[in-house]
Symmetry: C2
Subunit: 188 residues, 2 copies
């Protein structure tokens, strides 16, 4: 009882689940409190507002994913290998924490403005930088790296969305080789 960290963790996981399912606007503080099993006022012991809770969840998840992508980008490997590793990263995030993946997808519009502009913290920038360097090294054709990033992200995101909607089934990691192949074909 003295340690609120368990309650805090449950607030985060239940809020993430509800936000991913019904959107932030569609989720009330009452919904979250009921799912956690505490009074509404208890939430305000841990987060100053619903919006701050949403923002905190987004920025934390987004920054971690971005850091993972940056780490792949900084290695000295062929671009094709890097693409495969980033695809695996996204697929595993989807399979292991679908709520977080969905939430990052749909909360982008609300919170992307809060993301620091530096290449470190931004997933799209991190993906784009991988392509920028590949172009500089002559490994892929010369093309707007923002467009290449869009193609790659779309090729991963849309199958993920189809899986959420039940149009595709099974873990996304099983499709990772297909997705890597598609990205490589689309950008080379």
């Amino acid at each position: 009882m003295r340690d609120g960290s368990k309650t805090r963790a449950k607030i985060e996981s239940e809020a993430l689940r509800l936000f991913a399912e019904k959107g932030v606007a569609g989720t009330s503080v009452r919904d979250i409190a009921a799912a956690v099993g505490v009074a509404e006022a208890a939430l305000y012991r841990h987060f100053p507002s619903k919006d701050a809770l949403s923002r905190s969840l987004f920025l934390e998840g987004y920054a971690r994913l971005a850091a993972d992508v940056v780490a792949v980008g900084e290695t000295q490997q062929p671009i094709e290998t890097k693409i495969g590793q980033v695809v695996d990263l996204f697929c595993r995030l989807f399979d292991d924490n679908r709520s977080l993946f969905s939430f990052l997808l749909l909360a982008q519009h609300a919170h992307l403005a809060d993301v620091p502009e530096g290449r470190e913290g931004n997933v799209v920038e991190a993906v784009k930088n991988i392509f920028t360097r590949a172009i500089e090294h002559g490994d892929i054709r010369k093309e707007d790296p923002d467009l290449l990033a869009a193609l790659a992200l779309g090729i991963v995101a849309q199958p993920a969305i189809f899986t959420i909607y039940g149009r595709l089934s099974g873990p996304l990691i099983a499709r990772a080789p297909d997705l890597t192949r598609a990205i490589w074909a689309a950008v080379r």
Copy 2:
């Protein structure tokens, strides 16, 4: 003044714009009425509820796009040409009516369950059927047509989203050849 069709049309266009900008949950009936320049009660002369208005806008736009995709699919042309024509369809919808495009994108989750299951009314089904027939004719490799549809839709949708967010600029139709090329490379 006696003819309410002008008011109805303005309700539809203003609601579409606001729904696309701020989401359905983030848009109040008061917002819509203020944008149209009528009292809130006037909206209820034309639509029984906000949800019905949202559903009507979605189903109408979705059905029209689906019909256009079906029309391309039913022609006797090489698959590569069909892909190019469907890409043009999406790009032109985005450029000419971005509000509708954005709204269809973000309201899918809420209203996709209301779409009739038949191949006629469903955009994804229409795209999928084009690939299914191409596989039957041996024009592209044998692969889950749902996955191929996801790849193609992701390759168009993500650059559109990047354009909305300001990461890409200019009309999407200018990128149509690139997108067609990317889809063809990814699915062949």
